[in-house]
């Protein structure tokens, strides 16, 4: 029985063979997430950087060797490098790509039951971008990019434990964000 990951692998394989429909499926799925990740990083020219990322990915697709998870990690790594290049060129990158401070924290505490159906994607990205830089990037890579802890750790050059801690701190901060609570109260 095929799984979603198998499906992703099949699409990736066809795209590597030049199948335009398969490439568009990859792009449809990953491009919006790439844009959101870049915006969380504070990249002012997210659209341009995403285009440059795809340009490099398409150019090197024939040499890429791996499955779905590796492709995701590869694509977002290219995007991260292109964003850093853009920041160096334009000096408008807001110093978000910083090393996380490794501080042990307790597990996130339970918060009140809230439903946030009214939250738009752009607002959600803005909320995540309001976290500390290290937490924002880890949350973005885990949730938006869909990478697992090990992949994020490799990508950022951190230990898996540091990634988990940054993620927990970020999620706890998001749970406590007063704007999300207020938004929910207003829309009820």
């Amino acid at each position: 029985m095929g799984t979603e990951a198998d499906d992703f692998d099949g699409v990736l394989s066809r795209a590597r063979s030049g199948d335009e429909t398969a490439f568009l499926r990859l792009w449809d799925h990953l491009h919006p997430r790439l844009l959101r990740y870049l915006r969380v990083l504070g990249c002012d020219e997210a659209d341009d950087v995403a285009s440059e990322t795809w340009l490099q990915a398409v150019r090197d697709l024939g040499r890429f060797d791996g499955g779905a998870d590796e492709f995701r990690c590869w694509l977002f790594t290219i995007g991260r490098h292109r964003a850093i290049d853009a920041s160096r060129a334009r000096i408008r990158f807001r110093s978000r790509l910083m090393t996380a401070a490794v501080v042990p924290v307790p597990e996130p505490s339970p918060v009140e039951d809230e439903v946030l159906d009214g939250l738009s994607t752009r607002q959600a990205v803005a909320v995540v971008a309001g976290l500390s830089p290290d937490q924002a990037e880890v949350v973005a890579l885990r949730i938006i990019a869909g990478l697992d802890t090990a992949a994020v750790a490799r990508m950022l050059g951190k230990s898996p434990g540091a990634v988990r801690i940054a993620l927990h701190r970020g999620l706890r901060a998001l749970s406590a964000d007063p704007r999300l609570r207020a938004l929910e109260e207003v829309e009820q």
Binding site: E4, A5, D7, F8, G18, E20, F23, L24, R25, W27, D28, H29, H31, P32, L35, R36, D44, E45, A46, S51, W54, L55, V58, R59, A68, D69, R72, P108, V111, D113, E114, V115, L116, D117, G118, L119, S120, T121, R122, Q123, A124, V125, A126, V127, V128, R142, I143, G146, L147, L171, S175, P178, R179, L180, R181, A182, L183, E184, E185, V186
Partner: protein, 337 residues
């Protein structure tokens, strides 16, 4: 297609559920705007490269197109929109513009005596199709009609000018009837009449136009003008108020001339581009309320767009600024861009 790790797409903490759903939602129209360009990039990466030949061929083709285009532009032989573009690019070296208002057989000539008639204030819509429009003969230039403006603000006055000149000879003293077909209405209804002046000219005004409409003139013996469409643009306003909760504000869109049930779209400006945030339906009071997050720092700019319908055209509000604040809300209104 999804290969997301399962642990975070459905967080145990319900407070994060909405946030995560928004973060991993399908791409918005703005995000997907580059799809075709991405496909072209993918295609070009798969093509065999014959660069020198391609460059030389494209250069030659461009040179040919440019040479032919210049000649056609100078001769004003291009299609009107293309000629206008050529004029904007090359007007300084003598390329004419065909879209500049020019005298035409159907337009009233400056200074010519004309009879103006005002259509009386609009009565409740009478029964439609008193118009001879179905069995009339299109005038083939005998009776023409033009609007002073193709778009007017809702509630404004439409000015229409016609001319009756069968066989090129103006006819004076002929009663011309104006017929109107409202954008969402069932058929044509008579909206007024006037007598032609010495040059066969007639000018009619239609006050307080609140919905899209087509107009045409009818002369005796079943002579009809081609129809002329006028689009009505309802003003749309955006106001800001504190949301009564820390961290949120309320934006109220108001469009008095739009219809209850019309959709208004809230947009946020980022990097010079407007992005869609959400949409609401106008209520019976022609208002819709959006809730937005107050930025933690800096400011956010919003506007609303009222998309066009069969009843009215597309309108855009001025923008409103929501600024990070400590104690009070500051809003700065600006004219629409």
């Amino acid at each position: 297609m999804s290969a997301d790790p399962p642990d975070l797409t459905e967080p145990r903490d319900p407070a994060l559920g909405g946030l995560v759903r928004a973060l991993i939602a399908d791409g918005t129209a703005d995000e997907m705007a580059g799809r075709q360009a991405a496909l072209e990039m993918f295609r070009s990466s798969r093509r065999p490269r014959r660069r020198r030949f391609a460059v030389s061929m494209s250069t030659a083709a461009a040179a040919l197109v440019l040479a032919g285009g210049f000649a056609a532009a100078y001769a004003a032989a291009l299609p009107a929109p293309v000629q206008h573009i050529a004029y904007r690019m090359l007007g300084s070296i003598g390329v004419p513009d065909t879209q500049r208002p020019a005298p035409s057989p159907g337009a009233p000539s400056p200074g010519a005596p004309r009879l103006a008639a005002s259509v009386p204030p609009r009565p409740p819509a009478p029964a439609a199709t008193a118009c001879p429009c179905q069995d009339g003969r299109p005038g083939a230039g005998n009776l023409v009609l033009a609007a002073a403006r193709a778009q007017i603000v809702a509630g404004g006055t439409a000015v229409l000018a016609g001319r009756l000149a069968p066989g090129g000879r103006p006819e004076a003293g002929v009663r011309i009837r104006l017929f109107e077909h409202a954008g969402a209405g069932p058929g044509w209804r008579e909206a007024g009449s006037a007598m032609t002046g010495r040059d066969g000219d007639v000018t009619l005004t239609v006050p307080h136009l609140t919905s899209n409409a087509s107009f045409r003139l009818a002369a005796p013996r079943g002579v009809l003008s081609p129809p002329v469409a006028i689009t009505v643009l309802p003003p749309v306003h955006l106001g800001l108020a504190a949301g009564g909760r820390a961290g949120v504000d309320l934006l109220t869109a108001r469009a008095p001339f739009a219809q209850a049930g019309d959709v208004v779209v809230l947009q946020e400006r980022s990097g010079g581009t407007w992005y869609r945030i959400g949409e609401r339906v106008l209520g019976q009071d022609h208002r819709a309320v959006f809730t937005v997050l107050v930025p933690l720092s800096g400011q956010a700019e919003y506007r609303v767009v009222l998309p066009g319908t069969t009843v009215h055209g597309r309108s855009v509000s001025g923008w409103v600024r929501v600024a990070a604040r400590s104690a009070q809300v500051r809003a700065a209104r600006r004219a629409p861009p």
